[in-house]
Amino acid sequence: MTTKARVLETKGLTIHFGGLTAVKDVDLYLDEGELVALIGPNGAGKTTVFNLLTGVYRPTAGEIRFFGERIDGTAPHRLTRKGIARTFQNIRLFQNLTVLDNVRIAYQVNTHHTFIDSIFRLPRFFREENRMLAESRKLLERVGLSAVEGELARNLPYGMQRRLEIARALATRPKLLLLDEPAAGMNPRETQELMDLIRQVREAFGLTILLIEHDMSLVMSVSERIYVLDHGALIAHGTPAEVRKNPRVIEAYLGEAAEDALA
């Protein structure tokens, strides 16, 4: 096996909210280029893990390393600048701004003009704004949203809003992309298109991806490894085939009815 860089690693990741332990002793890792899924029943703490990884919450205990560097307790916008991007389970676009502006805001991470340049319209302002504009358009073309660049985000159909969320995350030029139920509420065809898109951008941008997803067939088909979370703790970890057979997973997450779904 070739040695790949360890992109993300957590050790004993724990958070309490008052008396409730939402996430308990979670150890997980991602190597460069992997696509790993995090699954678990509703309320298992999947999104809380995302919020810990992206700095929205500060862990009560444990550590998070990104390319070997401790990042727990770092502000979310700094983590984005380091190369961790995310999408949200309930879409959180900038609703009253255009599709283009949604992406341009994310490109802001890579701008190098100050507000002084903007106020006086110095040459650097035009250079940087035009670079951002061109790159944003290129990205919109890649995800198939060029035709609607002038639309307000809130007027887009649901599937396109999901795509825009991904485009916006990509605009920050991440090394690690966290996708929180990107296919939620999509019909099978839209889901298929979305997975194709994710595969494409993963290749093109050399991304490492951590995916939260409910759609079991989708998770089983795309991920290389799966972590299973229940009541805030990891109960299983392995390849899709291993996880599928794990009795604890079947009991805790899949339940009796799901056995046929997996069969």
Binding site: R86, L97, D101, Q108, S118
Partner: protein, 315 residues
């Protein structure tokens, strides 16, 4: 629609420049030739000061979405700073104007840094508290005359005020139409998502607060040197509220809306002074009617330029 590349549109800039100079020249000629009397001169000054207040608060509320209702506090800081400099310390007016802006901006930083962690209603209450603290502190400083107020030289004139308004509008418009302005809009739209997209939200909130306070401070210098006397009572919550009304009535998020509303309401207010008993009732009625028929404000979130562009496209 966003154009293919962003470049200065020389024709439009030239037209704008000619318009700005022409408006200045016509009014200046009117003032020196005496066609524009004292009454209208005062009205123009009032409009100018209110435009500065409206546009500076627009940056904080309309663009960045931080609901601040202590704007009169920054106005007061600017007014008293400049008044002390010109009347007590005999400094030139120009220096006093700059100092008013800088000191008000420092107050903006001072208030902004701790309170901008608050959101919505809580921020509104904190900024309201700030405005009241400024006013009550001024009541108790004998050096600036306490409740009786302070005599100030009349130094504000059309040239200075017009220059200040133009500079401010250019700065705010240029700031808004840039990556930095878009970052502020992102803060308004969704703070959590903005952070996740790498926008340092606290930085942009404080920036908006400081720039807004700077221009409110300059408006304060204009105000102090226009009305001969300044008293703490003029900078009460009611003043903050009046400025807030300009911004909301103009349409949250529209700079030209804020300017338009400040102009219209200043004029309405002056003409209503002929009816002292019913003035506030009529003023409120105007507000109620506008809000009933245009709940999104006069301009919605569009700008004056958008209207021309649309017309050009249809033609």
């Amino acid at each position: 629609m966003t154009p293919m590349t962003i470049a200065p549109d020389r024709k439009r800039l030239a037209l704008l420049f000619i318009g700005i100079v022409a408006l200045y020249a016509v009014v200046q000629a009117g003032l020196s030739a005496g066609w524009i009397g004292r009454f209208y001169e005062n009205m123009l000054m009032n409009i100018g000061i209110n435009i500065m207040l409206a546009a500076s608060l627009h940056l904080i509320i309309g663009v960045t979405g931080q609901f601040s209702i202590g704007h009169a506090g920054f106005l007061a800081v600017g007014a008293y700073t400049s008044a002390v400099l010109t009347t007590k310390l005999d400094q030139p007016f120009f220096l006093a104007i700059l100092a008013a802006g800088v000191v008000a901006a420092l107050f903006g930083l001072l208030v902004g840094a701790p309170t901008l962690r608050l959101r919505g209603d809580y921020l509104a209450i904190a900024t309201l508290g700030f405005g009241e603290i400024v006013r009550i502190t001024l009541y108790n400083i004998d050096y600036v005359g306490g409740a009786a107020g302070m005599q100030v030289k009349h130094l504000t004139n059309w040239t200075v005020l017009y220059g200040a308004v133009v500079v401010m509008l250019v700065v705010i418009a240029n700031l808004t139409n840039s990556a930095h302005g878009r970052a502020m809009l992102a803060v308004r739209e969704d703070e959590v998502a903005a952070e996740a997209m790498g926008v340092p939200t606290t930085y942009y909130k404080v920036l908006a607060f400081a720039v807004g306070a700077f221009f409110a401070g300059i408006a304060g210098a204009m105000y102090a040197h226009q009305f001969y006397i300044i008293q703490p009572v003029a900078f009460s919550f009611l003043k903050s509220f009046e400025i807030l009304v300009f911004v909301v009535l103009g349409g949250l998020g529209s700079l030209s809306g804020a300017v338009l509303a400040a102009t219209l309401l200043s004029v309405v207010n002056i003409y209503l002074q002929a009816f002292p008993e019913t003035r506030m009732i009529l003023y409120s009625l105007v507000l109620i009617l506008v809000m009933l028929y245009r709940p999104q404000g006069l301009m919605g979130n569009r700008e004056l330029g958008d209207l021309f562009r649309r017309r050009a496209k249809e033609a």
